[in-house]
Amino acid sequence: MIGVVITTPLQSIVVRQDRDISVVRRAVSTHAERLNLSVLSRTRLVTASSELTRNMLVYGGGGVVELKVYRDGERLGLGATFADQGPGIDNVEDALADGFTSGVGLGLGLGGARRLVDQFDIQSSEVTGTSISVAIWLKDDGR
């Protein structure tokens, strides 16, 4: 149940080279720890972020990652938006399917990232490029 989600920016990271992927991983990890996300939630979000950042670099020619706190009433979460100005994704449904790749990968990154997070929104077009937002909520039972 998502009411009005308020987001507060935390950090923004420019991604231009493969080293920046680990910069993103470390930043997500640090903010997840500060927010007290469980180890599993943190690992999931860091892994999803790693996949999406690499895609952004490989297919979108780089871009920007924005980390933010999500707040929905009492509920807190950690989110990230991965935006590039690349060629966009031809067919989003196809791209999300496991095993679909236009490159040499396994085609697990995008679909896998979606499975790992609580919220996943994707916008992509030839004109605007690709923007993917993900978030993981702090679970009530502390998981």
Partner: protein
């Protein structure tokens, strides 16, 4: 740019690699090359990859690790991956990665024991 490398230590007939940093892509590829060379020069028959210090494994790094294992095999050595954190293992499964054909063990001691068995 500094030439970062992950250390490879020879113990008896095995090469021990302890990955403690967040491994960026190039570092992983360098490790694969270095290991290939060391396998040739030392004629080691086993590789122990300790990933207890890694708190994430994405598809790229997982693929490099699986690639190291296949490469070592072609060079006559067995590879055992040890110390995967539980959250990392769960996430890998959710991602859809199985790391098929890669031997795994809980920790370095058990990994060493498994390697010894694989090498007889």
């Amino acid at each position: 740019m500094t030439l970062e490398r992950i250390a490879i230590v020879k113990i008896e007939e095995c090469l021990l690699v302890t990955i403690q940093v967040d491994m960026h892509d190039r570092l992983a590829l360098t490790l694969r090359e270095d290991l290939g060379e060391r396998l040739l020069t030392t004629q080691a028959r086993g590789v122990l990859l300790d990933i207890s210090g890694l708190d994430t494994l994405d598809t790229f790094i997982a693929r490099v690790l699986a690639g190291i294992s296949s490469m070592a095999k072609l060079l006559g050595a067995e590879t055992v991956l040890v110390g995967m954190q539980p959250a990392v293992a769960m996430t890998l499964v959710e991602l859809g990665l199985t790391l098929e054909g890669v031997h795994t063990s809980l920790d370095v001691d058990r990994g060493m024991a498994l390697l010894k068995k694989l090498l007889v």
